[in-house]
Amino acid sequence: MMTLKVNGQDHQVDADPDTPLLYVLRDDLKLNAAKFGCGLGQCGSCTVIVDGKAVLSCVTPLLLLEGKKVTTLEGLGSIEAPAPIQRAFIEEQAAQCGYCIAGMMMRAQALLQRNPKPTDEQIRAELEINLCRCGTHMRILRAVHRAGRLMQTADASPAKGSIQEGSIQGSMP
């Protein structure tokens, strides 16, 4: 039995110490956001934040996490009260299948926490490890820029639900 701090809460976890964090999050704690993509640290769909840094949870064993703070996408906000980065991804409609998106958002969140105004190049470099197969990259980049702006506004409280049509990019005659 080990104590694991996830999204601000302590959990008693009964799993072998070599169990990758991803399986503990999904199987023991019933959290959905971190996804199994490769189990090899090659695709980033399992990305979570540990003590402020983006970490590949599929190759991070439980035994390394004693006393550390784990944050998953669920810990940032909810469907009722989305965090700035969640609002940004909704407003930019930055998903197709969306399977990679939680990992993208967590890596971007870690970047924005240490650098609130990243350049396009810095965002690309940071997200290099994360794969998207649907080709949603342009929207992901836009969403990360938007999230940075939202996080800086004094009142980043969610404007519930609806998004403005004007926020949708792309040319529509």
Binding site: A15, D16, P20, Y23, R26, D27, D28, L31, N32, A33, K35, F36, G37, C38, G39, L40, Q42, C43, S45, T72, L73, E74, S78, I79, P82, Q86, F89, I90, Q93, A95, Q96, C97, G98, Y99, I101, A102, M105, R124, A125, L127, E128, I129, N130, L131, R133, C134, G135, T136, H137, M138, R139, L141, I163, E165, I168, Q169, G170, S171, M172, P173
Partner: protein
């Protein structure tokens, strides 16, 4: 079955609603009574004509729309909801959409071929319009007013004096259990409130907040976790394994073996993974070296026996004698779907009935295959679609469903969740087929194409289930099912010959399809099927011919194209890109252009691109792309833009980087290191998509239309940047560098 008026005894007895049906239809469709072969209603209504197969309105006014198609991440569910809301004249939010489920929805085959909007979208559009008419007619009777005096809005029928009757109040008995009529009174597109607007996708909020959005997120009570141990290569036979040590591992519930099918079940997911690793290490296999030589794939393919068909011939002997003739051969390797989430399924065998939750593209064909494999009647199997990771065609979804079903039968009552590992998805998914095309064309003295010859060598592009033999588990069990004999997919859609017939007008043309039955690697449908390679070939060759004629590529295409909508798409893309005849790109860069109408009868797409090539390394990078797309009446413009943006980036990845690798025994591209795809450093600076909306015109779909034009546009830009023409996909850094140095 498709008589103009269908009133059965039940619906007559059900009351007023049904009586109004006969009233409302007699006037409107009287002329159809005399026509002996009644025209079919549009879209999938032709196969599933009863309105209540598509729409249900409850007494409390709740509205449910049903579709046999599946949400694959393409945004279909949102678009479908828009269509239903629009024609019912209700707010978008008041419609709930139920997708593919063999117990609840129509059999619409596969969600494939960019056909969802055309088939299912058209069906619900017409069904909704006819349901709305039935409701208005019912209200007219209740209010004793003429139909023409009534309006609809906000889920109610409204009288001139302001009286309102909610849809729920108007529904009576089996009022909608009537067959659809061939024609509907559809709304005037100018009055659309919901369609044609960029309504935000209904699935995205859950996906970005950690909601249960995917089959991978299913957690049934008492559920156990399974992993398969796949053979190391095609045709490998399981000699044996030592089970004792593995059965003692923590959490292990059962090892399931049936012939060459091997799996392990455990209480927790990572226990199953560890047991799988141990079992894979313990298993001994007899392998056979039977894969072809990868280095000579085009030679292997064209050397295999083929069934040759001339699928198109146009002959005009009066056309001027050729002034110049050129030839070229283009090749494509096997390419992977490469879903980011490996395939997954949940199955439960309970009271002699099997329920399978799957991200399959076809719940009904999958049910047939699984029932055959389990040797039970189809009626005792239920397939429910649950969204998975994007599939882009026939990936491992159906195989995972069969795996889960086979394992679940060994554990009666227990829900089993099965997920593939990365290496399994990469090695065992059915790949997009390798292809070869040979083109030969002549220019006349005026620089026009006088003769066009196009030959394509290809496998089929669909080995999807229907029968059990299409699924790995059924092939691997002790009493196996053989894979079905491959068939070429019929035109006009085609498979290997999809888009092989030119859309341009040439006085002489011949297209031959060399269909290759033998399949050295496991293959099936990958987004756009043969159109990806055929459009890459034809549109590359058009540029070669334009260069030979000394013509501008855009002007050269327009010169050979009569189709007005096609011309509009080309002109829009060229204008938005800033394409000018004879203009030079900055040093190290090139401009490229390409166009196709998907399947020659679906959406139009033209793409202009700017590519930068590093002459020292051979690295090509798409800098910007501008697309114009005409998909008929637009339902969700942002969804359409999203599809085309995705098509451009995914096709760029296929085109620049991707090929399945193998030795004589095993697939060797088994993860993202050995099968590299697009990463962020190669993402363009800008992608613009321009929609040419066609109000009131049929939906043409959009999921696959961009794949071919994107590939050719990039290839043409590389040729423009380097002066070298590359014809073998993928256009890798090494191939570009070798061409520059040659």
């Amino acid at each position: 079955m498709n008589g103009p008026v269908s009133l059965n005894r039940r619906s007559v007895l059900a009351g007023g609603g049904a009586l109004i049906v006969s009233f409302s239809l007699r006037g409107a469709f009287a002329q159809d009574q005399s026509a002996p072969p009644a025209p079919k209603p549009p879209g999938s209504l032709a196969q599933t004509p009863f309105l209540d197969s598509w729409l249900r309105i409850d007494a409390d006014g709740a509205i449910t729309a049903f579709t046999g198609k599946a949400e694959l991440g393409q945004g279909f569910k949102t678009a479908f909801q828009q269509i239903a809301a629009e024609e019912l004249d209700v707010p978008f939010e008041s419609v709930n959409v139920v997708t593919a489920d063999t117990s609840r929805t129509a059999n619409e085959g596969y969600t494939s071929g960019s056909n969802s909007m055309k088939n299912s979208g058209t069906a619900v559009q017409n069904a909704a319009a006819q349901v709305r008419e039935l409701l208005v007619a019912q209200a007219a009777r209740r209010l004793d007013l003429p139909v023409e005096a009534l309006k609809t809005g906000g889920g109610a029928v409204i009288a001139p004096d302001g009286r309102r009757l909610g849809y729920g109040e108007l529904v009576a008995g089996e009022m909608f259990h009537v067959q659809a009529q061939p024609k509907s009174r559809l709304k005037d597109p100018a009055t659309y409130q919901v369609m044609g607007r960029p309504v935000p996708r209904v699935d995205i909020p859950a996906k970005v907040t950690g909601g249960a959005a995917y089959i991978q997120d299913m957690r049934l009570s008492g559920m156990v976790h399974a992993r398969v141990v796949r053979p190391p290569g095609y045709g490998a036979e399981l000699i044996g394994y030592d089970a004792a040590a593995i059965e003692k591992m923590p959490g292990v519930v059962r090892i399931v073996r049936d012939g060459n099918f091997l799996a392990v079940v455990a209480g927790k997911e990572y226990q199953a993974v560890k047991a799988m690793v141990a079992l894979a290490a313990a298993a001994k296999w007899r392998e056979t070296a039977r894969l072809p030589k990868q280095d000579d794939l085009p030679g292997v393919l064209t050397g295999l026996p083929s069934e040759d068909t001339t699928i198109y011939q146009q002959s005009d002997p009066s056309a001027v004698v050729a002034a110049l003739t050129i030839e070229a051969t283009f090749t494509r390797p096997y390419q992977a779907h490469g879903s980011i989430g490996p395939s997954c399924a949940v199955a439960q065998w309970l009271d002699d009935r099997m329920t399978v939750w799957s991200h399959t593209q076809g719940v009904y064909p999958d049910r047939a295959g699984i029932a055959e494999m389990l040797r039970v009647p189809p009626a005792s199997v239920r397939l429910i679609h649950v969204e998975g990771s994007g599939c882009y065609g026939h990936n491992g979804a159906d195989d995972a469903a069969a795996d889960a079903a086979l394992i679940a039968r060994a554990l009666p009552g227990v829900p089993v969740r099965l997920q593939w590992m990365r290496e399994q998805e990469h090695a065992w998914e059915p790949f997009g087929p390798a292809m070869v095309t040979r083109l030969k064309a002549s220019l006349d003295g005026d620089g026009a194409i006088s003769d066009w010859n196009f030959e394509v060598w290809s496998n089929t592009h669909s080995m999807r289930p229907g029968g059990a033999g299409a699924m790995l588990a059924a092939q691997h069990i002790a009493q196996p099912f053989a894979p079905p004999a491959p068939k070429p997919l019929p035109l006009p859609d085609g498979g290997g010959d999809r888009n092989a017939i030119p859309i341009y007008k040439f006085p002489n043309a011949k297209v031959v399809h060399h269909f290759i039955p033998a399949m050295p690697l496991r293959i099936s449908a990958l987004r756009a099927l043969g159109a990806y390679h055929n459009v890459f070939s034809a549109e590359s060759f058009m540029d070669e011919l334009a260069a030979a004629a000394g013509a501008d590529p855009v002007e050269f295409r327009l010169k050979h194209l009569d189709d007005r909508r096609g011309r509009d798409a080309i002109e829009k893309a060229a204008q938005a890109f800033g394409w000018r005849k004879g203009q030079k790109a900055p040093p190290g860069r090139g401009y490229g252009f390409a166009f196709a109408r998907y399947k020659n009868h679906a959406a139009y797409c033209a793409i202009a691109s700017e590519v930068e090539v590093n002459r020292q390394t051979g690295r090509a990078r798409l800098i910007r792309a501008v697309a114009a797309v005409d998909s008929g009446q637009v339902v969700n413009p942002d969804g359409l833009v999203n599809q085309i943006e995705g098509a451009i980036l995914q096709s760029m990845s296929w085109t620049l980087y991707e090929s399945v690798t193998f030795d004589d025994t095993r697939i060797t591209s088994i993860d993202w290191q050995t099968y590299p795809i697009l990463r962020f450093d190669a993402v363009p600076e800008k992608v613009d998509v321009h929609i040419i909306n066609r109000p009131g015109q049929p939906f043409l779909g959009s999921g696959e239309t961009g794949q071919g034009p994107a590939a050719a546009s990039i290839a043409n830009a590389i040729a423009s940047a380097t002066g070298k023409r590359l014809r073998d996909l993928p256009l890798t850094r090494k191939r570009i560098k070798d061409a520059i140095d040659a």
